[in-house]
Symmetry: C2
């Protein structure tokens, strides 16, 4: 068998995914395994156990990120790392995160099966608290790792019961010794379900991910005058909901003006007093703008502020807008993107470029090492949901692309 | 003094209003005196006590409506009745309802002061549970009185704690003996703050009320597909919020097409899952359409259904619309409207016709007797609010119009 013919064991990968999914399994077929809970510990223990069985050596850092290493021929080289996360949303699925971690394990198992030695060492990794459902900030482990925020900030984060990350990390036995970030990475790959409908819609197997979109989040508050819906003539109203609907429509119009990667969403709306026969006096809503191009994202931002200013002048209602979050677009490293592209071509899978609209640990990893991502389709584009699903053949294909992309970077010494 | 020079005592009326407002007074200057509570009993006792001091005889019916009678020269004639309600919203004001009741009392006190005898007897009345905040249906006492729904239905209504109207009526001692509706009414007048901004905006003192608008209430549910705000391209979305905003804007457009009495309001909005980075999968909202002309209200109803059908076809999202309430417009009796108009003219107050956009007990009274209403301005058009306010000179003017309108219908025997 030539190296080009090397393939992962898709069935073994699928079985590992299903076994991990039993920890925290929900009646609807999803998984609830919130970060740093007893279930998270069980999941971590299972994956670490599998890593040890595969002969990997385990390092845990102070924020609980776990790295499991397969030695190379030249261990002075920084490792080629692949991973993701195994914590889930409260009503999460079997694939988000878990797939990336277990596919990296499957790469190692496959190399073991064939006695393949790489020049650079390989590592599989899982990062603590990617989801951010129990503790914020999200992407906590990778964020601390790359210095986006401090270990102290992460440790102090509390869940709704007042328990801290530091307490819970220590309690489940995953507060390691290594300083976060003091861990070299030669290149980082993350394999993930797409969490969107693009691959499925285009009937492609592999998404080559050139970049992750930037995003701008806003809170907008429109203040009118609460009044009785009957006695108040249309011309004398200060209807906060009506003015809000104009802005909400413009959010979508702006996104449509910057295809194909413009995104505009109003996901959260709160109306006061929210009573059938009262003209709303105040409406608070979120705005989510995204684009992969930072200039276009800035243009979208400016157009929205200009529209709001125009609306304020025209309606004479109070409109406040505050940016509450901003992530610039994150282009992945050409070496890693091309490695994924070449592996896909070599394997003959149908493919297309898919810009990631969601955040991933790979964004933070990209701050400290060359990084890239691989997507496979998920059913109906649905994720963060118990009905999240993916096809075994796609799961297998993604694993093969990961295998060959990692091998390109790590280089085979002897087969 | 001629009869035409007869005036109520505005200061006494104001003082009575302020005294009644102390029962259930809120720190912000409003009143919380929910129907059939201990506070309602205290309020009822105070007003009934004042009626007795004024020599009135008290009748209470089985739903707790209270009628207090000043005998006329010919007591076989049906009484000329005026009243309103003394229950309030949870964060209500001093004037809504209470003003109409105490102004009727002030008419009686004024006639007593001047030893004026009317041919027909006069009655002041207050109706049980106009507000509907604690028990539904709203306008309960007048509704049972006119046969809009049964006494049994009203008795069975429960508050959030499971207490029934029947229990609470008996507990506070206001379950009377008279069969509701077995109480003749020669004519009914109701004096009320406008609860809207029209009089204040036009700088008029008295509103002659020719009619109450009809209203149509709907629940609309738009069903799209919940999806992640980042990875889902604009063209593949089924954004329930965006489709909802189109309908919400059309609600206002429809009302604006039928001035001056068209009204369109979206007061209640609920978004699922209501999360910043999730495209809404479902939006539920209320629609409130009103007009004083029944044909126009029907046209508005049809235009809205047509727009929703068009939107359903264009967007291919699920849209359900259900009418949950309908009251036809209620024109008041020309004799009563003209009596108010003549009294206003005689007294020389600036005035205009104001169609009532809100419901009042007078709507139900109009089903069993000639009825009419009188409005005075309220500050900024605000009602159902602790900051509800009115000017003493307007309160006095309204009382004088009520006095002379009632006297026209009851006819003076001897001054």
């Amino acid at each position: 068998m030539t190296t080009n013919e090397l393939r992962i064991d898709g069935k073994r990968l699928w079985q590992s995914l299903m076994e991990l999914a039993r920890i925290g399994a929900t009646p609807k077929g999803g998984v609830k395994r919130l970060t740093l809970t007893d279930l998270d510990r069980q999941g971590r223990d299972l994956v670490v156990g599998w890593g040890k069985q595969a002969g990997l050596t385990v390092t845990i850092d102070k924020i609980g990120n776990v790295f499991m290493r397969r030695a190379g021929a030249n261990n002075s080289l920084p490792p080629i790392v692949s991973g993701s996360h195994i914590d889930t949303q409260p009503t999460g699925g079997k694939f988000d995160g878990n797939y990336g971690v277990l596919a990296a394990l499957e790469v190692v198992r496959t190399l073991n099966d064939h006695n393949i030695q790489t020049e650079a060492p390989l590592e599989m990794a899982f990062w603590t608290n990617e989801e951010g459902s129990r503790f914020v900030p999200v992407m906590m482990g990778s964020g601390v790792f790359c210095g986006a925020f401090s270990l102290e900030t992460a440790y102090a984060a509390k869940d709704v019961d007042g328990k801290t990350v530091a307490e819970e990390l220590a309690r489940i036995g995953y507060m390691g010794d290594e300083e976060p970030g003091r861990h070299p990475i030669g290149a980082y790959f993350e394999l993930h379900i797409e969490q969107g409908p693009v691959l499925e819609d285009a009937d492609k197997v592999i998404g080559v991910v050139p970049a992750v979109m930037g995003l701008s989040w806003y809170d907008c508050i429109v203040t009118g005058m609460e009044a009785h819906a009957g006695p108040t003539p249309m011309g004398l109203r200060k209807d906060a909901m009506q003015v809000s609907t104009r802005i909400m429509q413009e959010v979508v119009n702006i996104a449509n003006r910057y295809p194909p990667y413009g995104r505009g969403t109003v996901g959260f709306v709160q109306v006061f007093p929210n009573s059938r026969n009262v003209i709303p006096g105040e409406v608070k809503f979120s705005i989510d703008l995204r684009n992969v191009n930072e200039e276009l994202l800035t243009t979208m931002h400016q157009e929205m502020l200009a529209f709001i200013e125009k609306t304020r002048v025209e309606t004479r209602l109070g409109i406040s807008i505050e940016r509450v979050s901003y992530y610039p677009p994150c282009p992945f490293h050409p070496d890693c993107v091309d490695a994924v592209r070449r592996a896909t071509a070599k394997l003959g899978y149908s493919n297309m470029d898919v810009v990631s609209g969601a955040g991933h640990d790979a964004i933070y990893a990209a701050r400290v090492a060359p990084a890239g991502m691989i997507f496979v389709p998920c059913k109906d584009g649905i994720s963060h949901n118990e009905i999240e699903d993916a096809k075994p053949e796609h799961i297998e294909a993604g694993g093969n692309v990961l295998l060959h992309a990692m091998l390109e970077r790590a280089r085979i010494v002897a087969a």
